[in-house]
């Protein structure tokens, strides 16, 4: 499995992820981590954490982690392949379905599928939270930053970028 061209592996993995990315790409982080770190050994836990941090600090939709994984594995071609393969299947589906949406938006099966997928994807986002946090390791200062950010985002109206900026600054001055 590991001796094939990494571009093909990237394409296959993100193609599959695109089809099951209900609840958006944040629900797919555990699978991306499993593939990149455990299955293919493309990066360490710490590298995955760093790429995720960069993706969060950048503007734009949350597909940026996909671009960065591709880039890390195979440079610019990797970034292009992974971004396109995660976009094209779901975009094609959206394109095809958007014309017929009004016919089934009130259908019972549509509501059942949507309602049924929600708990599963919430379980996946909770898994994302656990797996991203576990890449931090046993560093109590960093875990305190994680906890503080969680509280700030949940309890205040401060922009999340402010929390990210402060955490980066604390790191820069050597406190972490």
């Amino acid at each position: 499995m590991n001796d094939r061209d990494p571009l093909i592996s990237l394409a296959v993995e993100f193609f599959i992820i695109s089809f099951v990315a209900f609840g958006g790409l944040n629900a797919m982080l555990p699978e991306m981590h499993r593939q990149a770190v455990d299955v293919y050994g493309w990066m360490s836990d710490a590298e995955f954490r760093n790429l995720f941090a960069l993706a969060q600090a950048a503007p734009g939709p949350n597909a940026m982690i996909v671009t960065l994984i591709g880039w890390h594995v195979a440079g610019i071609p990797g970034a292009l392949v992974s971004t396109l393969t995660v976009l094209i299947p779901s975009s094609t589906l959206a394109y095809v379905v958007s014309g017929t949406w009004q016919r089934f938006s009130e259908a019972r099966w549509r509501k059942a599928i949507q309602a049924g997928l929600i708990p599963v994807t919430v379980g996946l986002v909770c898994s994302s939270a656990l797996i991203i946090t576990s890449t931090i390791g046993e560093n109590w200062r960093l875990l305190a930053i994680t906890a503080a950010t969680t509280l700030i985002v949940m309890r205040t109206k401060l922009h999340p970028l402010i929390a990210l900026g402060c955490a980066g600054l604390l790191g820069y001055v050597g406190l972490l």
Partner: protein
């Protein structure tokens, strides 16, 4: 406030340049949550559509797999200018952030060994984890207190989060069961 009179078809669908610049703008100003900005641009600022049509499109995008924002770009582009509209909108949305993030990645590998850089990233990574936890907790609160949906949340968490099982087989087992349960609940 004048949204009410134009709730259905927009007077004039945006042209390709409009779509491109619109999504490009959104992608660059939308740090940590692009969705409110798309609504602002499409409904309030450029009046591509009424609030009702936007809500319907959003519901569709939340039903489909893939990022909501990317799906919205595809569908808004499609409704305005057909297939080319979709491609142009999606390109407008992705081109700047992708370029920027690859630039950041390049800087990261180039300067990763500088102690300052590694320390900044440690802090950012820890805070980014906090953002995901906050998102998970908010979604969890939205599930409510019904035991069966909570059971499916827990099953997904145990399988993928704790046992680190592959995602696709896990979803192939859990999703049909959860959908079957929802089928008995929706009218």
């Amino acid at each position: 406030m004048q949204d009410l009179d134009s709730s259905e078809a927009s007077p004039e669908p945006p042209d390709l340049l409009n779509l491109f610049t619109g999504f490009l703008t959104i992608s660059l100003i939308g740090f940590g949550g692009v969705l409110p900005w798309i609504r602002w641009l499409a409904v309030d600022r450029r009046k591509w559509m009424g609030p009702k049509e936007f809500s319907e499109l959003l519901a569709l995008c939340q039903f489909l797999p893939g990022g909501n924002i990317m799906n919205l770009a595809v569908i808004i582009g499609h409704r305005s200018r057909g297939p080319i509209g979709s491609v142009v909108s999606l390109t407008g949305l992705m081109v700047a952030p992708c370029t920027l993030v690859v630039g950041l990645g390049w800087l990261y590998t180039r300067y990763a060994d500088y102690p300052g850089v590694a320390d900044v990233l440690k802090g950012l990574g820890a805070a980014a984890a906090g953002l995901v936890i906050a998102m998970a907790l908010r979604l969890l609160a939205g599930i409510g207190k019904e035991p069966v949906p909570l059971l499916f949340v827990a099953a997904g968490f145990v399988a993928v989060g704790l046992l680190r099982l592959p995602l696709v087989p896990t979803m192939l087992v859990l999703a049909p069961l959860s959908i079957a349960y929802s089928w008995t609940r929706v009218a």
